[in-house]
Point group: C2
Chain length 431, copies 2
């Protein structure tokens, strides 16, 4: 059975994955002389930099995701399919999906990366990752549910276990989650749970290296740690989490932290695409690509974004796995497809670092921009506007802006809701 997409005289480009890389490429290919098929397992694009705000009840999922069909309304050469790709058959130039086979003339893998548990099965089973809006929502439900349960627990140790949280990984995600939790502890929880000793909530941030924010400057890292400690986050450097059974986290120095929740933001690994040759695989399960994003050992297959491993003079270990690299890959490849169609030669990719930022809380952020580093309230304001500007959809921008102003003025988030669709009917939908 073939996937049901109209026959066309145009060559078909199939993009797998609608994250920053895949979405940007599809937008570049609008109106180009190709038939474009965008495949994603969700019907929406997710704005990953704000997942932590969904997890912390500051924003609704709907504000940070955008339906693909709406993004491409009226684009006659773009076809969206919500499904998963099981494998690629490079010889037949075909993808296998539950909806049927999908032929391609060009294949672009923008399949991104997922949480890396470094092979620790127990942690993978018990820890809470935050690599999708669904996972962020689950984390929110979990935190709120545990507070509700804690209310009825009279045993001191057991109650502490329910309200304490361990965050693993001192990158931007870990730092932002820790900061947001610390603010929730300070401003929201005492009002919601007067019966709980909310000042006794311990927030642990555990990082294996000797500093936070490894991708950023020493100044940024130092200031981030100062901000976090000012908010009572217990930062532990040079420490790794070696085990977590759902009740107690074990650290590399042998010590233990009793905690019911462990948020894992300690690293990523490339998502898998069965059917590719062995030589395509690079470090971190990424796909080795040349300067034109062509996957090693394949024909007419490209990889862009977090999954792509491209060595450049200044980046001998590949580009950082961040949104701006993904979007730059996609833009260059989009232009190269235009060149291919015209019969001119493709241009190699060159990464341009636009800097990076992380926010810790109200008026507290750190920013490394090219040639200029700053921390504090101004960085925080810049952070807000950069993210507001990047999010897709005018209504999303409006809603996020109102939410932020609201939360800022009231010291409150009003989205502390444990909502989930009934499981019955959803399962039935998959019958």
């Amino acid at each position: 059975m073939k996937i049901n997409i109209p026959e066309s005289d145009q060559e078909r480009i199939v993009i797998v994955g609608g994250g920053f890389a895949g979405l940007t490429l599809a937008r570049e290919l609008k109106k180009q002389d190709y038939q474009v098929v965008l495949i994603d397992k969700n019907n929406y694009h997710q704005f990953q930099p704000l997942f932590y705000q969904v997890a912390m009840a500051g924003l609704e999922p709907s504000s940070i995701v955008f339906p693909f069909r709406k993004a491409f309304q009226g684009e006659k050469n773009i076809f969206i399919r919500v499904t998963e790709v099981e494998r690629v058959d490079t010889a037949k130039k075909q993808l296998h999906t539950p909806l049927g086979l999908c032929n391609y003339d060009y294949l672009v893998l923008a399949i991104g990366a997922d949480t890396n548990f470094f092979g620790n099965e127990e942690i993978a089973r018990k820890a809470l990752p935050m690599k999708s809006v669904s996972e962020a929502l689950s984390l929110r439900n979990r935190i709120l549910t545990d507070f509700e349960i804690a209310l009825s627990v009279t045993d001191y140790e057991r109650r502490q276990q329910l309200i304490d949280i361990v965050i693993v990984g001192g990158g931007p995600t870990g730092v932002e989650v820790a900061g947001a939790l610390a603010e929730m502890k300070r401003y929201v929880l005492p009002k919601d749970y007067p019966q709980l000793p909310t000042d006794e909530i311990d927030i642990h941030l555990v990082e294996g290296a000797d500093r936070l924010l490894l991708g950023m400057s020493d100044e940024a890292a130092g200031k981030a740690q100062e901000f976090l400690e000012g908010l009572d986050v217990k930062v532990r450097l040079n420490t790794m989490v070696t085990g977590f059974d759902g009740e107690v986290a074990t650290l590399s120095d042998g010590s233990q932290i009793p905690a019911h929740k462990l948020i894992w933001a300690a690293g990523v690994t490339g998502n898998k695409m069965p059917g590719l040759p062995q030589e395509a695989l690079a470090k971190g399960n990424r796909l080795a690509v040349d300067r034109f994003n062509r996957v090693a050992g394949t024909e007419r297959i490209f990889a862009i974004g977090d999954i792509a491993y491209m060595e450049e003079e200044d980046y001998p270990k590949g580009h950082p796995q961040v949104a701006q690299a993904a979007m730059q890959h996609a833009k260059n490849l989009g232009k190269n497809f235009k060149r291919l169609a015209k019969g001119t030669s493709m241009q190699p990719f060159a990464y341009r670092d636009l800097g990076s930022m992380a926010t810790i809380g109200r008026n507290r952020a750190v920013a490394d921009l090219p040639g200029f580093k700053f921390q504090g309230a101004f960085a925080w304001l810049i952070w807000l506007f950069v993210h507001l500007f990047q999010i897709l959809g005018v209504k999303n921008k409006v809603f996020i802006f109102i939410n932020w102003v609201w939360n800022y003025l009231t010291y409150d988030q009003s989205l502390r809701l444990i909502i989930r669709p009934k499981e019955g009917p959803i399962k039935a939908a998959k019958d």
Copy 2:
């Protein structure tokens, strides 16, 4: 084990259920000389009149629900517990819950009503109800998922089955869902699914009586039907759905409608509370109460809202199971508790009908207000403002207002997102 609530010299009123009745009563009891425990299985109040807009991707769940803890922040005599009541022990004046036993001096049952499938197990298993925000969200996910699947189906009959919808029950819910679906079919789906024959989507509204909106006037019913038929909804009166296996709906006239989705809004039945005496039970599984909302055959137990069956001179079959009756019960009972505390005598309840409304779509609503009936654009505007005014929370009002203006101007709903929390971590929370 006892539920963990501080001892108090005040008498304890336990309210079970935080719908319109329970929430209104708890608000009446703020600052009164009682200790109040509000028990609900969710941590939020749900605004039922707008469930259909969540189902139709017009509003987000978070806009129409409100966290109890936020509603009662700073109220020292109100305690909220998120749990389910398993049964009542009237002799010991205790409730059994998974969090432990909960004593009461006064018990108020505001447990509402749930979908009534009239004993048809197959329909109960396969049909889609809409009595909670979770069910509304599931319905939305189901509709959108079926459209995605339909894209890959080339067989005409099978595809129709996926996109056609049967709605059972011509009350306000059925009428409002049918109208919203018809507008989605007309304005949204053709843009999102150019590959699907969206004009061939059949929307069936099946009602057992000889007219729609039984609780309203003939004029309202007639105009509602006219509006619906103008939007191509197939209205079938004097017809009942006798079976639905998930693929085909069977009607009382023997005819069949192949459809993968059947929305059931054909009636309600009171939620059960084990432990009450037999004589407390009235028609429709409601609880028989006197004019003071005291449950028959019990002591110090009250029932308010949809679950309460109170006969009045003008209402020999009990009050309509609507929000305004629930809120009026609650307000009267709240005042009676104040009188009890003062040692004065309680006042009997008297229902005051403030009229009813239903909306069919843009500029189309019907309204029966006391002494004055009207239909069309003005009724629609009134409907919007009445609902906006009633919804809890200023931010909710702002967000709903922006959404409505947005949808009105763009002929679009941008919330067509199939989002659900990951199942794994949520299950773990219940371990």
